[in-house]
Amino acid sequence: MKQLKAKVLSNDELLSYPGATYFLMRVHAPEIAAVSKPGQFCMLNCGPDVPLRRPLSIHRVHPRGDVFFLYSVRNPDAPDTSRITIKENGLISTSGKGTTWLSKVAPGSQLNIIGPLGNGFSIDNKSDNLLLAAGGIGIAPLMFLAERAVSLGSGVTLIAGARCKEGLYPDSLLPPGINIIRVVESVENNTRYIRGKVTDVIPLHLAGVKQIFACGPQAMLEAISNHVGNKAVTKPVQASLEVRMGCGLGTCYGCSIKTRQGMQRVCKDGPVFNIKDIIWQEVRI
């Protein structure tokens, strides 16, 4: 764990769909890049108006000492997708403050960053075939994992899910050598896309797979979790969780959840857990 002022090298919009815009940010942080493992994250200072740092997964590292973050900023004019809809008229929503601030950081600025934090994914020695399941922005930590696994000689199948095709991670940035399955909720089936949800597709790609790694909305992780152990998902699953954090450093116990292994701090003992250990009612943002 290091704390440093990292120079922002680039910070650009990567894609946008009704709902959110994804940004890709590259910072120079050699001390962090050198020791990071896939699945670990950083706590980023997001300006003077937000007290708490924001956790972002390490999306990729570059051997030159750079760390990439892929983050989603909710579009303020997006249709409200929560259960209860309210008119935005007159309601000034303040959510998304930190990521919005981050999206305006200009290259050349310095960002105060702490990382790498948390446990990260663990690839077993004998895992020659990995299945990665990404829902939406959940692709952020899985790209680093895919790169690492390919460099270790493992086969990687990535199931990337998105609400619409504009939300899919661009092919040009995918690490070479991985098998990609694009799953989109609102699209016609064709050779490029499968219509549906990530969880529908997982059972079709389990042949030869030794480990499964998942990151995405909690509903997706819960759905995977419900299939674990039965015919649909017979392989061990590691999932990266999200809860609200105070420190991100293991000191405040703000992120603790009850698990089948007892109390666990998501920032220190996680964010990656064996999906079987998670009690989903305990995980809430």
Binding site: Q3, P51, L52, L249, C252, M263
Partner: protein, 306 residues
């Protein structure tokens, strides 16, 4: 210039190299951030609130950011006093920074038992008594809201240990000065204040309280003026040292508390924002007294009261 110019005495037998203390619940058990911060340079560390038995704490979410601060409802998740003594204290005994154990109980008797278990344990330099916990015997009322209960808890602790006893006061009371005087009379060596202010938030989209526990405690910059006025009030009516706490984010904030009458300060929420803050405050205090030509930080104590 020698570093002793920042030295303060917060209780008999508890002298600190500088007046900056890491507040309970924001510095874990001491060395979690050792990679980032030379924690041995702190004036003291107060560990996570500790109970007789381990506690799991409250459901998620436990931390919500609000304007000017944060709400927390961690709910005293901790490893319990036995594990603290066997797993944490041995390392503390090798550190030069004093570690103070923050304790919390459901009954007066529990506070007494906690204090006697900690008495004489190498590595423990003092006890901070968190009296903001509900008194189960008295129907869940907080010990900290009633001078008689607060005094009972204080004397139970005082009788059970020879360690320095600091009583941490709750701001959720009508007259904090009355509580401060009661615990002073009951044998407290010092008082620290304030703990968090009761608060909550509501997520309007979900139509639910933000915190899993519904209510929690507000801390951070938003509470500083309240904390400062309470420290001012208490410092004016007790003779024992007062430790100021609440929204301290920088050296200037710390100086305000000292000038209001505090002997030392506790830094809480700021540690979550930036784990370097406490050390930055120590440096800032040192620069300030040098620049002002002051020999000892204690010369500034209560300076604004004159």
């Amino acid at each position: 210039m020698s570093q002793s110019s920042l030295r303060v005495q917060v209780a008999p037998g508890l002298s600190l190299a500088n007046p900056v203390i890491a507040a309970s619940g924001t510095w874990g058990y001491g060395d979690e951030t050792a990679d980032l911060v030379d924690f041995r340079r702190l004036g003291a560390i107060i560990c996570k609130g500790t109970t007789l038995k381990p506690r799991a704490g409250n459901p998620q979410p436990r931390i919500i950011e609000v304007t000017g601060g944060i709400l927390n409802s961690v709910g005293l998740e901790n490893i319990g006093v036995e594990a603290l003594i066997s797993e944490k204290a041995p390392a503390w005994a090798t550190w030069r920074v004093p570690v103070i154990v923050n304790i919390a109980g459901d009954t007066v008797d529990e506070y007494g038992r906690l204090a006697s278990k900690l008495d004489g344990v190498a590595g423990i330099s003092g006890i901070e008594v968190n009296i903001s916990c509900p008194n189960v015997k008295k129907g869940g009322m907080q010990f900290g809201t009633d001078p008689v209960c607060a005094a009972e808890v204080t004397s139970a602790v005082r009788k059970s240990t020879s360690l320095p006893v600091i009583v941490k006061l709750s701001p959720n009371v009508t007259d904090i000065a009355a509580i401060a005087r009661a615990v002073e009379l009951a044998g407290a060596d010092a008082v620290s204040l304030i703990n968090t202010l009761g608060g909550m938030s509501i997520d309007v989209k979900r139509r639910r309280p933000g915190l899993g526990n519904i209510t929690g405690g507000l801390s951070g910059p938003a509470i500083k003026p309240i904390a400062l006025s309470m420290v001012w009030k208490v410092a004016g009516c007790v003779k024992i040292p007062v430790i100021g706490c609440g929204g301290i984010m920088n050296a200037e904030d710390a100086l305000e508390f000292i000038m209001a009458g505090a002997t030392a300060v506790e830094v809480g929420t700021a540690n979550l924002v930036n784990p370097q803050t406490a050390l930055d405050i120590i440096n800032g205090l040192r620069q300030f007294i040098r620049a002002e030509g002051i020999g000892n930080i204690t010369d500034l104590r209560g300076a604004a009261r004159l």
